[in-house]
């Protein structure tokens, strides 16, 4: 089964007081949801292609990491510079363009996002499903090949398992990084990913329907009071206010 995994790169951990940039560089790595999506794919298939969009340097490292984990092919789609914010429809359009060259029975998208508001999800997979006219299953937590492909997704307090018959093409969204403990790549794969592994580049521009008119840091929240009085008074004010808002 040929699987395409659409991943996100996140900036690598900030450096420690001792190491500086020497050891960690400016690299990026696969985000937690991307890694979970990749594991799901690798567990059921050995024909896995990984696709990423973004600024070249950062996304390439994430793709090499994907190769190190065991993906067979890595494709980097050059993205137009959005100055830090993402037009997801354009990105999905670019992915769709790239997918025309790549055979896929199943598409898995990482839906976590470092770059959006807190607690939000990247809608790349949903957009792609809409564009391709396929069903979209979000919140996927596991994947089992047993005759039909069994996809288990979470909806609130329930886990629903769908049977996807062979030949039906769906798009899966993974947003929950597996709560299971961290699995390392085989380190030999890291060496192979950098010596011999190839990251293909495609210049596919997505058509965007949005223009970024402004981007900047969020305004400072001024005008609130910092409660610096002795503990007893600050606490009294806080409790009073939370009570009024029915939060406690």
């Amino acid at each position: 089964m040929k699987i395409v995994v659409v991943v996100n790169a996140v900036p690598a951990e900030r450096v420690s007081v001792t190491a500086g940039k020497l050891d960690f560089g400016e690299a990026a790595m696969l985000g937690p949801a991307s890694r979970a999506a990749l594991y799901l794919a690798l567990a059921v298939s050995d024909e896995v292609t990984v696709l990423a969009t973004g600024e070249l340097a950062a996304a390439e490292d994430a793709l090499r990491e994907a190769l190190a984990y065991g993906a067979q092919r890595a494709i980097l789609i050059a993205a137009s510079d959005q100055r830090g914010a993402t037009d997801y429809a354009a990105r999905a359009d670019a992915v769709k363009g790239a997918l025309e060259q790549v055979e896929s029975d199943l598409i898995i998208c990482a839906a976590g996002s470092y770059a959006l508001a807190r607690g939000s999800f990247a809608p790349t997979g949903a957009l792609l499903a809409g564009m391709l006219g396929r069903a979209y299953i979000g919140g996927v937590e596991s994947l089992v090949q047993a005759g039909d492909l069994e996809v288990t997704a979470r909806e609130g307090d329930e886990l629903l398992t769908y049977a996807v018959p062979a030949g039906t093409q769906v798009v899966l969204g993974v947003s929950n990084p597996a709560p299971a403990a961290h699995e390392l790549p085989w380190f030999g794969g890291i060496l192979n990913a950098y010596h011999g592994g190839e990251v293909e580049r495609q210049a596919v521009a997505g058509e965007g329907k949005l223009t970024l008119s402004q981007i900047g840091p969020a305004p400072r929240r001024d005008g609130r009071e910092l409660l610096t009085d002795p503990a007893a008074e600050s606490v009294a004010v806080l409790v009073e206010s939370l009570r009024t808002r029915s939060l406690i």
């Binding site: 508001a117 807190r118 329907k209 969020a218």
Partner: protein
């Protein structure tokens, strides 16, 4: 009064009463009527400038629910029956068909996992632009295009997007707009009949599996960071118990051994959605903050007045956890005792 809003002083239409700007479509699910009020409020704030009217699509609801929507500002409600199989349904296809039938300029959804993915599918089908998690909408005077302000990088930045065409799709944080005022229901309710094409996937297994960590369901979370220290963690466990909340931790606190990996909140941990989040001794790096969903009220207790978390917190107490936490716990116990 209604006529004033429907008049087209800005358009070139021959019919002064027609809404030549099309419509602003608000999508609401049957279980989400509370969010509908603020979505309709946002719709009403932009519709006049577009020369559009406000309509709503109600997924899986009944006439009574539709009436509620009419009362809060929809001039028309479409009842959309969707065939469903677990969490998969025809909603995206139905909504796309509905949008193509009338001339819809803007579609609004409530932001959340369900709303964002539904909005994404509809945007994909219509080839529309999409902004997820917008916090405010406006209309640019010159181009008459809708603008949305979107928080990015866990709230550290703001991006302003302008739609380039019609339709444009936005998902909004439900608490952003002022809900519209109630008014007598004068609009129409109609059914939108949609013929499903293709079969939905079969659900072969349905398992009741509440989220393993109560933290993911908790409404109140008390989280400790490196600044809390081992002693601080003991105190905040007591605070959490008093509030009926759950204990969380930052990555540094887990590394120091005061909390388990399951309690870690942030980029490499859980994303939580409480109503109240008390951060004790947490400096507030983006990697941690991105684990707290929008909509939470954040109380920060930290001894460093320049900690970044104070930029985000709704309440800020500058002080040592060792003094503040016991005082807070004692005060709460007194409050609950007198209830």
């Amino acid at each position: 009064m209604d006529d004033f809003w429907k008049s087209d002083d800005w358009s070139m239409s021959d019919e002064p009463n027609a809404s030549s700007g099309g419509s602003v479509l608000v999508v609401v699910s049957a279980g989400q009527l509370a969010a509908a009020k603020s979505l309709l409020g946002a719709a009403q704030s932009i519709a006049p400038y577009l020369g559009a009217n406000v309509v709503a699509a109600l997924l899986g609801g009944d006439d009574a629910a539709a009436d509620e929507l009419l009362k809060v500002g929809a001039t028309q409600v479409w009842l959309v029956d969707v065939a469903t199989s677990g969490l998969l349904d025809d909603a995206a296809a139905a909504l796309a068909a509905l949008a193509q039938q009338g001339s819809v300029a803007v579609i609004l959804f409530a932001s959340g996992e369900r709303g964002d993915s539904l909005a994404g599918q509809v945007a994909g089908r219509l080839g529309a632009g999409l902004v997820v998690g917008a916090q405010s909408l406006s209309v640019d005077y010159g181009s008459q295009q809708v603008q949305a302000v979107q928080p990015i990088y866990a709230g550290a930045g703001l991006a302003t997007w302008q739609a380039n065409g019609k339709p444009a799709i936005f998902t909004l944080r439900p608490d952003i707009a002022t809900p519209s005022l109630n008014r007598p229901a004068t609009g129409k309710v109609a059914r939108f009949d949609y013929a499903a094409t293709g079969e939905l996937l079969k659900v072969v297994r349905r398992e009741h599996s509440p989220l393993q960590q109560e933290m993911l369901r908790a409404k109140v979370i008390v989280a400790g960071g490196y600044g809390a220290g081992a002693a601080g963690f003991a105190a905040l466990k007591e605070l959490a118990a008093t509030l009926g909340g759950v204990v969380g931790a930052s990555k540094s606190a887990v590394a120091a051994g005061w909390a388990t990996r399951e309690q870690q909140i942030g980029m490499l941990g859980q994303t939580v959605r409480p109503d109240l989040y008390i951060a004790v001794g947490i400096s507030g790096t983006p990697e941690h903050l991105m684990g707290i969903a929008e909509g939470a009220t954040i109380v920060a207790i930290n001894s460093d007045p320049r900690a970044p978390i104070f930029q985000l917190a709704d309440y800020a107490i500058v002080g040592d956890a060792a003094t503040v936490l016991p005082a807070l716990t004692a005060r709460l116990k007194k409050l609950y005792a007198s209830d």
